[in-house]
């Protein structure tokens, strides 16, 4: 085609669409959908004084009461803590801590007297606390075999490699295997109330209901559970106890439903702590059924410790804690203080921003956009 030269690259308006297949005349015009044309309906929030300032005040108004509530609740919780590590010469447990040996057959016992200033009502929870104990160390945390603890027979005889070097001893599989189980807390704590009339009354401690229900009933199972007349001793035949344990796992408790892997002390220990200072529920002191008397009246008490658990090597500390609880758990004033602080800061910021907005904001926003 030879057109006159002055429109050599002619755009003469002819729509000549020739598809590769010989030319269908379907237009290539893109579809007119909101999505393809980027016109989807949308909400476009921006930070204006009208939204930001009220939000600050509202947050302030909500947070401060919550904080006060939390703080008061936390303050109402009674807590008593006694360190029985025995670091000081004067400490009753000093001897036990100094003379500890893994092989000693005779347990070392120490007695710590203490005085409760206030009576403790309703259920009182008794914790043992450890410090500088890195239960959250990666290699420590991994050193367990959940299949074995769940009652898997194969894993019982062939513990997972994760348990190394606490998987086998004397060519026998260790049950329960791993470093966590091996280092289980094994001090025995007993509480006595020194009656004003001179008698020493042992306080009954409940060791049932201290672990999570899911742990006790789902996560931890004895091998062969469900079989009729199971004999733990027989089930654990062919395995050996963890190196540091004094008793095999099937002799942890007399009660059948609290023995073996489903022993609650064991379960509580196996739930590793997040932080190097932690407390674990040891026993519960149930409130008397008549409800008239406080669970633990004000007065003198004695803590008797069978000192089995060495912490000196890693400069750890051991504590016994008595605490009541509330709807927000144990005593921790942090949340309350934090809420009050954040609420106040919000409120304060709201005021400051309001002033700034009044002083400069209007000027800037209404300023015309220079072209």
């Amino acid at each position: 085609m030879m057109a006159s030269s002055y429109n050599a690259k002619d755009e003469d308006g002819h729509i000549t669409v020739t598809g590769p297949g010989g030319g269908t005349l379907r237009s290539k015009k893109p579809e007119n959908t909101a999505f393809k044309q980027q016109r989807l309906p949308a909400w476009q929030p921006i930070l204006t004084a009208g939204t930001v300032l009220p939000a600050f005040f509202i947050i302030g108004l909500i947070f401060i009461p919550i904080g006060i509530g939390l703080y008061v609740t936390s303050n109402n919780i009674k807590e008593f803590e006694v360190d029985y590590t025995g670091v000081d010469m004067s400490s009753p447990c000093f001897n036990c801590s100094q003379n500890f040996s893994w092989n000693s057959t005779t347990p070392c016992t120490c007695t710590i007297p203490f005085f409760l200033e206030q009576p403790y009502e309703s259920n009182v929870f008794m914790y043992y606390g450890l410090s500088n104990f890195y239960q959250n160390h990666r290699r420590y945390v991994k050193s367990r075999d959940d299949s074995q603890l769940n009652g898997d027979m194969t894993s019982l005889k062939e513990p997972s490699k994760e348990c190394e070097p606490y998987a086998y001893h004397d060519n026998k599989p260790i049950a329960p295997c791993g470093a966590i189980a091996n280092s289980m807390f094994n001090d025995t704590l007993e509480l006595f109330y020194n009656d004003p009339n001179g008698t020493k009354v042992q306080i009954p401690l409940t060791n049932i209901g201290i672990a999570w229900w899911t742990d006790k009933h789902v996560k931890f199972k004895n091998p062969g559970a469900g079989e009729a007349n199971q004999n733990l001793t027989a089930v654990f035949q062919g395995t050996t106890k963890p190196l540091n344990w004094r008793r095999p796992v099937y002799e942890l408790d007399a009660a059948a439903n609290n023995n073996g892997f489903i022993n609650e002390d064991f379960i509580v220990w196996m739930r590793t702590a997040a932080l190097p200072t932690f407390r674990k529920l040891y026993r519960i002191i149930k409130s008397p059924s008549n409800g008239m008397m406080p669970t633990m009246p004000r007065g003198n008490y004695t803590l008797e410790v069978v000192y089995n658990y060495p912490v000196r090597s890693f400069e750890g500390r051991k504590r016994m804690i008595l605490s009541t609880i509330s709807w927000m758990g144990g005593k921790n004033p942090f949340l309350g203080i934090a809420y009050i602080t954040v609420g106040s800061v919000c409120f304060f910021l709201g005021v400051v921003l309001l002033i700034i907005h009044h002083k400069c904001g209007n000027r800037n926003n209404s300023a015309d956009i220079s072209n």
């Binding site: 030879m2 006159s4 030269s5 002055y6 429109n7 050599a8 690259k9 755009e11 308006g13 669409v17 237009s27 290539k28 893109p30 393809k36 980027q38 016109r39 989807l40 309906p41 949308a42 476009q44 929030p45 921006i46 204006t48 930001v52 939000a55 939390l70 259920n123 929870f125 959250n136 160390h137 990666r138 945390v141 075999d145 769940n150 201290i210 672990a211 999570w212 899911t214 509580v268 739930r271 590793t272 702590a273 997040a274 190097p276 200072t277 407390r279 519960i284 605490s323 709807w327 758990g329 144990g330 949340l335 934090a338 809420y339 954040v342 921003l353 904001g361 800037n364 956009i369 072209n371």
Partner: protein
């Protein structure tokens, strides 16, 4: 095809001189010249895999993941399985490979198509049809009309008289007017006699292959005689033969050695600046982690082998999902470009196309736009728009109230059916003119008779009534066509006659003389004897000063000549034209003498149609602080005028500098002078930014601020000096101070050099836009290349990154798509780094509490799924949908584009800021849960501070915090975004509860040890209070900071968004203030493509004298108009107020026609 596909790179001995002998393949083959096959593809079947993988692993990211993969394969190190890295890596690699493969297949196809074109080659004394790729140097080939030139040829003979051929060189230099080439007489005598041609054994010695389009030197030795060869005898590959039945040529250069291919430039792998920045950041992060790791291992009391989790950490700081997401976002934003109806051109059914999907965000950072002129800014159509005959103007359309109507596509057109010879494509809107013609108005008839006679157009009438015009300049063609349609049809010409059809009556005028156009006189005349025997001189004169709507204006005049005087004049003319020295000036004197005392007939206005919306687009872009440089192969005058008409150069500019020196010293002086007048107190030093330490330390030129607005026009030959190493900085400094730069008469390679110069010394992103093969090199050289599609010649599109049909779409591509892409990408990267740094830093703080054992603070499943499921979709949603303000507002405030140019949204500083932000967030996210949970218990006294509950708590806090943070980043909440954000949170809880359920644990006890953690801790009020507290604390400073910023120093975005919000109630119709028709001040911006025509050729049998290529240097008129025109400036006849204005016509025309000395017409 060589095995490694690297023919093009293979260096052979440098050729110093080319020797070849026609019709002697054996002799020519001994030199191993390249054949005519071209190869633009990169791979072949065997080399694809290794080469492509090699290229891909040059991306740091890919190499980095390869490294991670190697680490993960080592079981002692890894805790995550190897396929978590392998699967995405393979996916990324294969998608890229597939894309590269399709691209290369396309290139193979187009290569094949070109290589398999047929050409008639003289082999063994016979003409044979051969494929292009088999054509060899020294072959003689035959070309026919409208065929592409096969290779660089020496023209031997042609069908036309005087061995002329006409070629169109648009593909090479963008000029669309035909050019004439002429063969040597000695070869021309060969004609089309195959025997003679086969016997032709001329030997050619010429320059080695090079890229200079305008120069050729060589000699032909034939029959013992030596003949010099110059550019006049060479047909270059890429040209098209026009208006010539056939010609024969001798192949001098083939395939890759042709000047076209030598001008092609190299295609380089383009990467965005964000990509490069990301590479640097990844390396920094990598180094930082390595140091942390080193420090961690040096700490005492640590058991060995804890590098494993560090691999996890590496994996989470820069996860592969980052790269996958980046690619998805780019792909999505590319699709938006393909889908945009506002960038679809219905005329030729061309949607915009993002041919490269990896450069989108760079579109939001363009600082320099390099544009071609012909076909890009202009449509390359000249239309006869308006005329004024005898003081009456035609061309406007008025409604019944006398209001001028905007002429659109729907305006009624004049029906030319009365004239069988009319060109159906000619469109005119004013019926009055046709009526005047039909009423036999004598002035109107004389007007069109002049148009039909006074020109140098050649007519070609293959079939009765189908006339094609062949004009040296497009506007001449337009005038003759106008005359044709109004009943004065130019039909044919001989050297001494012109045959026209006057209102259906055949007339033949004797052509006595053509006083051809040249740049000094700017007018042409013919002297003819009418059939009645009357002797007349018809003249048309270009009015440079005739400002108004940017129409190129010619004034038409005539006079009757006295027979005696003419004879005498002709005698003198003959003497002068045979005079050997000073011929030019003598002729000019003669012309001047006879072109006196003319009678004014009227004036014409021809529009060199700009593409639609070009001035508006250019104005928008310059408001967005984008600098536009026009690089054109066209003449200086044309380029300048187009510069004015498209608003690039403006009347209000303080000065427009012209650089057209012919020696390096002149050019340097001109550049210096320009700079001094812009900035008298310019300091010579301190123009460079401090040298960069990272990467190659290249000097970076600072932007210099000058008062006022300036323009720069530089000529091709001056540019050649300016681009020399010693002067390039001088040139760049001067050019960058100017608001607009126009480079004319530049070769394709110079275009690329200009682009590269800017790329080298300016830390700025460049974009090149063009439509022809002559733009390919600059398209490849620029950061972003845009091709104008939908027209003939797709080379530009094929090598471009984006293509669309109209220049005006560029503003949408940049101001809307580019800006959004950049915004989205930056938001994405900032947020992505934020969320992953926060994630990682929490680990870091936890390290202090777990004995630096690298215990992860989260559940391992959470680590795996965090980037994959929990946070992937919301951020993707944001990066695909977010827009700060919509497209209408983006156009209304082009300044919104500026932050992108300044790299404000994502830079090292921004990265550092978001790292700092994550440090804060991670501190909150770790220490608040830590303090809240330490020593506390559940509400039934049982454990809640255990590792599992703590992990669950921190990861939940983290997820809430990053989700809320995302909500603050997002400014455009579509339903999809809301669904993604809430859905991801819901998904988190669903997945968590599922994985912590009894069933999962019982199936795989060791894989799901977190059984019950969710149930036992998420029912605790203090857990939720902690989550709330961390969320609030994480966003509190952000909100405060941003609010303060908005209040105290709002950015342009903030202001516009605020304005949008205020306007929401009543969305203003986008009052396009940009739609200015500033006709009042615009200078005649019309295409000035008139050139010396074929006058000599037409009239005399004399040997053709070629028009001087560049006599333009004498053309110095530029800048302000100097006439006494009213500020209205419209040429009186074409004013919008129409007839009223006509009263002023006499004044105006008299002033501007002073050169006509006297005006006898009583009508004026």
């Amino acid at each position: 095809m060589s095995f490694f596909g690297m023919d093009c790179v293979r260096k052979k001995e440098r050729e110093l001189e080319r020797k070849l002998r026609a019709n002697d393949r054996e002799y020519n083959l001994s030199f191993k010249y390249a054949t005519n096959a071209i190869k633009t593809s990169k791979y072949n079947f065997f080399t694809f895999l290794p080469l492509n993988l090699f290229e891909q692993f040059q991306r740091i990211a890919n190499a980095y993941f390869m490294f991670l993969l190697v680490l993960q394969v080592i079981p002692q190190i890894s805790s995550l399985s190897w396929f978590t890295t392998v699967v995405p890596l393979v996916l990324v690699l294969s998608v890229t490979a597939a894309k590269d493969a399709t691209d290369d297949i396309n290139r193979h196809r187009s290569d094949n198509q070109v290589n398999n074109r047929k050409a008639e080659v003289l082999i063994d004394r016979k003409l044979r049809s051969e494929k292009w790729m088999n054509v060899q140097v020294g072959d003689i080939i035959k070309l026919e009309n409208n065929q592409f030139v096969t290779a660089d040829l020496l023209l031997l003979s042609s069908s036309e008289p005087l061995n002329l051929v006409y070629i169109e060189t648009a593909e090479l230099d963008g000029e669309t007017n035909l050019k004439v080439k002429q063969a040597l007489t000695v070869t021309g005598d060969l004609g089309d006699d195959i025997e003679k041609l086969a016997d032709f054994n001329g030997e050619v010695r010429c320059e080695p292959p090079n890229n200079r389009l305008d120069r050729f030197t060589g000699t032909l030795t034939y029959a013992g005689q030596k003949y010099p060869l110059d550019n006049e005898k060479i047909l270059l590959r890429g040209c098209t033969l026009r208006n010539t039945e056939w010609c024969f040529g001798l192949v001098l250069f083939g395939g890759p050695e042709t000047k076209l291919m030598q001008n092609c430039g190299k295609s380089t792998f383009k990467r965005t600046s964000i990509d490069r920045l990301m590479n640097v950041l990844v390396l920094c992060i990598f180094g930082f982690l390595a140091i942390m790791y080193k420090m961690a291992t040096k700490l005492p009391s640590l058991p060995s082998s804890h590098s494993g989790p560090y691999v996890i950490i590496l994996n989470t700081v820069v996860p592969i999902s980052l790269y996958v997401s980046v690619e998805i976002i780019r792909l999505g934003n590319s699709f938006y470009i393909d889908w945009d109806r506002k960038m679809y051109y219905a005329r030729n059914d061309t949607p915009a196309e993002a041919r490269t999907t990896t450069l989108n965000e760079e579109l939001g950072q363009i600082k320099y736009v390099f544009s071609d002129k012909t076909g890009t800014l202009t449509q390359n159509i000249m239309t006869f728009n308006k005329c004024s005959i005898n003081g009456k103007s035609y061309g406007e359309v008025y409604d019944y109230t006398g209001q001028r109507l905007e002429i659109t596509e729907h305006t009624d057109t004049v029906d030319f059916s009365f004239n069988q010879l009319a060109d159906p494509r000619f469109v005119f809107h004013d019926h009055a003119l046709v009526e005047a013609v039909k009423l036999e108005n004598p002035e109107v008839h004389a007007f069109f008779r002049l148009l039909a006679l006074c020109h140098t157009v050649m007519a070609e009438e293959k079939k009765e009534g189908e006339i094609f015009y062949q004009a040296q300049s497009p506007d001449e063609g337009a005038l003759v066509t106008a005359a044709r349609n109004f009943g004065f049809v130019f039909r044919s010409r001989t050297p001494d006659s012109v045959s026209i059809m006057e209102m259906g009556k055949q007339c033949s005028y004797e052509l006595l003389a053509i006083l051809d156009f040249n740049n000094v006189r700017k007018r042409m005349s013919v002297i003819v004897r009418s059939p009645e025997g009357k002797l007349s001189l018809y003249c048309k004169d270009h009015l440079n000063e005739f400002a108004g709507e940017g129409l190129r204006t010619l004034v038409l005049a005539y006079k009757d000549l006295d027979e005696e005087y003419f004879n005498q004049w002709q005698q003198r003319h003959h003497e002068a034209s045979t005079d050997l020295d000073d011929r030019e000036s003598k002729l000019d004197q003669l012309y001047e003498e006879i072109e006196k005392d003319l009678l004014l007939l009227g004036a014409t206005a021809i529009e060199d149609k700009l593409q639609d919306g070009v001035p508006q687009t250019i104005e928008q872009l310059s408001k967005a602080d984008i600098k536009i440089w026009v690089l054109t192969g066209d003449k200086q005058e044309t380029a300048e005028n187009i510069g004015y008409s498209c608003n690039l150069l403006q009347e209000e500019m303080n000065e427009v500098f012209i650089v057209s020196g012919n020696s390096p010293e002149d050019v340097r002086q001109e550049l210096r002078n320009a700079r001094t007048s812009m900035k008298p107190d310019a300091v010579e030093d301190s123009v460079f930014l401090p040298e960069r330490t990272l990467g190659k330390s290249v000097k970076v030129l600072t932007d210099e601020v000058v008062n006022g607005e300036y323009g720069l026009v530089i000529n091709g030959h001056s540019l050649a000096y300016a681009l020399e190493h010693s002067m390039e900085l001088e040139f760049l400094r001067t050019a960058c101070m100017c608001k607009a730069v126009i480079c004319c008469r530049v070769t394709p390679l110079q275009k690329a050099q200009v682009v590269q110069l800017v790329k080298k010394y300016k830390q700025a992103v460049t974009l090149a836009i063009g439509d022809g093969a002559n733009d390919v090199s600059m398209i490849k050289a620029a950061h972003i290349g845009v091709g104008i599609s939908g027209q003939e010649g797709m080379q530009a599109v094929l090598s471009s990154d984006y293509s669309f049909a109209q220049f005006r779409f560029l503003q949408r591509l940049l101001l809307v798509h580019g800006r959004w892409s950049y915004l989205r990408m930056c938001k994405f990267l900032r947020y992505f780094f934020y969320k992953n740094f926060t994630f990682t830093f929490v680990h870091f703080w936890y390290a202090f509490f777990c004995g630096f054992s690298a215990q992860t603070v989260y559940d391992e499943w959470f680590i795996t799924l965090y980037n994959l499921m929990y946070t992937a979709l919301p951020v993707l949603g944001m990066s695909l949908f977010d827009q700060d303000v919509n497209d209408v507002w983006s156009f209304q405030h082009p300044q919104l584009y500026v932050p992108g140019q300044l790299n404000l949204y994502f830079s090292k500083k921004a990265f550092f800021k978001c790292a700092l932000h994550s440090v804060y967030s991670s501190l909150v996210l770790f220490f608040i849960p830590y303090l809240a949970m330490c020593n506390t218990v559940r509400d039934d006294g049982k454990d809640v501070a255990d590792y599992q509950s703590f992990a669950l708590l921190t990861q939940t806090c983290l997820l809430f915090a990053v989700s809320i943070q995302l909500s603050f980043e997002m400014t455009y909440w579509t339903a999809v975004n809301t669904f993604f954000v809430l859905g991801s949170l819901a998904m988190y809880f669903a997945v968590t509860f599922t994985m912590y359920s009894n069933g999962m644990f019982l199936m795989l006890p060791s894989a799901f040890p977190f059984i019950g953690a969710a149930r036992n801790s998420l029912n605790q009020p203090n857990v939720w209070l902690t989550i709330l507290l961390t969320s609030i604390l994480c966003v509190l400073p952000v909100v405060t900071y941003r609010f303060l910023l908005i209040q105290l120093c709002p950015t342009i975005n903030d202001k516009v968004m605020f304005k949008v919000r205020q306007a929401k109630a009543t969305p203003p119709p986008p009052t396009r203030r940009t739609r200015i028709r500033r006709t009042s001040s615009r200078r005649s911006g019309y295409a000035f493509s008139h050139a010396q025509g074929y006058g000599d050729l037409v009239t005399s049998g004399r040997f053709l004298r070629r028009p001087a290529v560049s006599r333009s240097s004498g053309f110095t008129h530029i800048g302000r108009t100097t006439t006494g025109f009213s500020p209205m400036g419209r040429s009186a006849g074409y004013s919008p107020t129409g007839r009223l204005q006509n009263a002023k016509v006499p004044d105006v025309e008299v002033t501007s026609l002073q050169m006509y000395r006297t005006i006898k017409d009583p009508a004026l």
